[in-house]
Amino acid sequence: MTAATLGRRPRGLTRRGRVHSIRRQRFLYGVGRYSLVIAGAVMFLAPLLFIALTSLMTDAQALSPRWWPHPFQWSNYSTIFEQTDVPRYMFNTMLYAVLATVGLLLSSIPVAYALARLRWRGRQAVFVLVLATMMMPTQVTIVPLYVMFAKLHLTGTLAPLIVPNWFGDAFTIFLLRQFFLTIPEEYADAARVDGAGELQILLRVFVPLARPAIAAAALFSFLFCWNDFFGPLTYIGESQHNWTLSVALSNFRGLYHVQWNLTMAATVVFMLPVIVVFLLAQRAFVQGVTLTGVKG
């Protein structure tokens, strides 16, 4: 086709025309793509923006068609902290997230190492089991677990949420195993020649090299606990002084008489730490996600 056109018209003009039209086409495609992506970004940010704006409105404004707060009622936030138990719920959530994450790392790192770097019979089968538990819905085992913790008089406390994390977490094991597999065997061999045992190799060679993956695992665990709702609702839904933020927030509108501005302020308080952590640790997130293909 191009040969035919070339034959009929003067050479130089055609080429210039073609280059011109290709350029214009590229430019239009570019404009199209950018308008799509910008429109998408606006739609993705709008909910966050609206939530933040509403959190600064008066109660009446939140129900009015106005979308820009006037005046800015910053006192919503002090109201949240002074007149509700949000600080207490925040502390509970923190306690859950920190203790669970510490336990999860301490228990999962050696398991991941054994699955990635030690050779033993049944290793592949155990790895498949780990993957299978990772895929199992929490609801499948929740009833007997609840009964078990009830018999130990631990329901109503944070213990049922924290303790299981001290015995290895399937997702973390999977994530760290994937990373440990990528570390060249020569590092371990060098340590082995120096007479190091497996524990020393793990602690001195693998843990330092796997720091990004461990950071990602810690982040995912922390976030999971921070956001977790099903567990806290089931175990501590009835004991208000042990509520986490998620359970508290789900009850917030009932407790504080449908005040959208205060509810949205509490929502911001709940979301903000997560978003700040994300902005600070973006790379760890993305790496963790691409390493495993799953979020906790």
Partner: protein, 332 residues
């Protein structure tokens, strides 16, 4: 250790000493493995194996936590057929599996494709699309119930200004699940990142040679992109389906907040609002087990869920040869 050094000097023959040393080393290696694996072994037994067996047993009992379990055979399973909320639960969860999960993957794929096509600012846009994923489910749901509030929410205000129909969203049984699907799409970030990584892994030479052959955008998508990333796409779809199977938090919060009922209340709560359209299978399981304390029946429901989850997990593991490999390869 000492015997290895002593062996040549002593009267003991060389070979048995070496064998003993090897046996000792083997035992030590096995002990190391056992020690390293011990947290998982305990955890798997106590927090997974035992509850699974116990759940199977409880499903054959009438049990309310206060009195002793009382064996009733398969009565719990038989009751499912007559339970007025069981089938709505199944239908609603199926809706999430068949419509919401694929829709989320589709949008995530479209966004990932778009992100591969722009140069300037792609990192920024990636962050913007990813960020909502991190918003706690309870907070995000609350926010969306406010945004989609039929009378005062900004969404309907915009629609009103444009003279478009204004659905009742979370208050309309036909729109409650689509509203939740929009919420799900807003949180597609993880899937998008996974697909984006897969898309960036497609060798550019393939596209270049296709362009030389005169392939257009559709040909490239159909014959290069999709076949290359299909294992990842499959993985994303199956994990989304497994997530949809246990879909709970958003449904629970949307129903209690939009329904105006207090979540802490017992029987008269607004779970499933409006008109059972958000009564998802796990929500009903929760209500049976932890509101009505029908723990035997909840266990029976859990066993049904287990069977479904196992089917999908087997599918996932079957396909895992493809994606576990590619994930490991990508990191190195």
């Amino acid at each position: 250790m000492t015997s290895v050094i002593a062996a040549p000097a002593g009267p003991v023959p060389v070979a048995p000493a070496r064998r003993a040393a090897r046996r000792r080393a083997n035992r030590r290696r096995r002990l190391t493995v056992l020690a390293f694996m011990s947290p998982w072994i305990v955890g798997f037994g106590v927090f997974f194996g035992y509850p699974l067996v116990e759940s199977a047993w409880l499903s054959l009992n009438h049990y309310d936590l206060l009195s002793k379990p009382h064996y009733i055979g398969l009565a719990n399973y038989r009751y499912m057929a007559h339970d007025p909320n069981f089938w709505p639960g199944v239908r609603n969860t199926l809706w999430m599996i068949c419509i919401a999960a694929p829709a989320t993957v589709l949008f995530a794929f479209a966004a990932a494709m778009l992100l591969t096509r722009i140069r300037r600012g792609s990192g920024f846009f990636r962050s913007v699309f990813y960020m909502p994923t991190l918003a706690p489910a309870v907070a995000a749901t609350l926010g969306f119930v406010y945004l989609f509030n039929p009378n005062t929410g900004p969404v309907n205000r915009v629609l009103r200004a444009l003279h478009l129909p204004q659905p009742l969203w979370f208050d309309d049984p036909h729109y409650a699940k689509p509203s939740l699907t929009i919420l799900g799409i807003w949180g597609f970030g993880t899937i998008m990142i996974v697909l984006l990584a897969a898309l960036l892994d497609v060798p550019t030479q393939l596209y270049e040679s296709a362009e030389l052959d005169g392939a257009n955008a559709w040909h490239k998508l159909r014959h290069i992109t999709l076949p290359t990333i299909s294992p990842v796409l499959l993985f994303a779809l199956i994990t989304s389906i497994i997530d949809a199977l246990q879909y709970f938090t958003q449904g629970y919060v949307a129903a209690t907040v939009a329904g105006g009922g207090d979540a802490g209340a017992g029987v008269g709560s607004s779970l499933g609002y409006p008109q059972n359209s958000t009564m998802f299978y796990p929500v009903w399981l929760y209500q049976q087990g932890f509101r009505y304390f029908a723990m035997g029946y909840a266990s029976a429901m859990a066993m049904v869920m287990l069977v479904v989850a196992v089917v999908f997990t087997v599918l996932l593991l079957r396909s895992s040869r493809l994606w576990v490999h590619s994930a490991a390869g990508r990191a190195s």
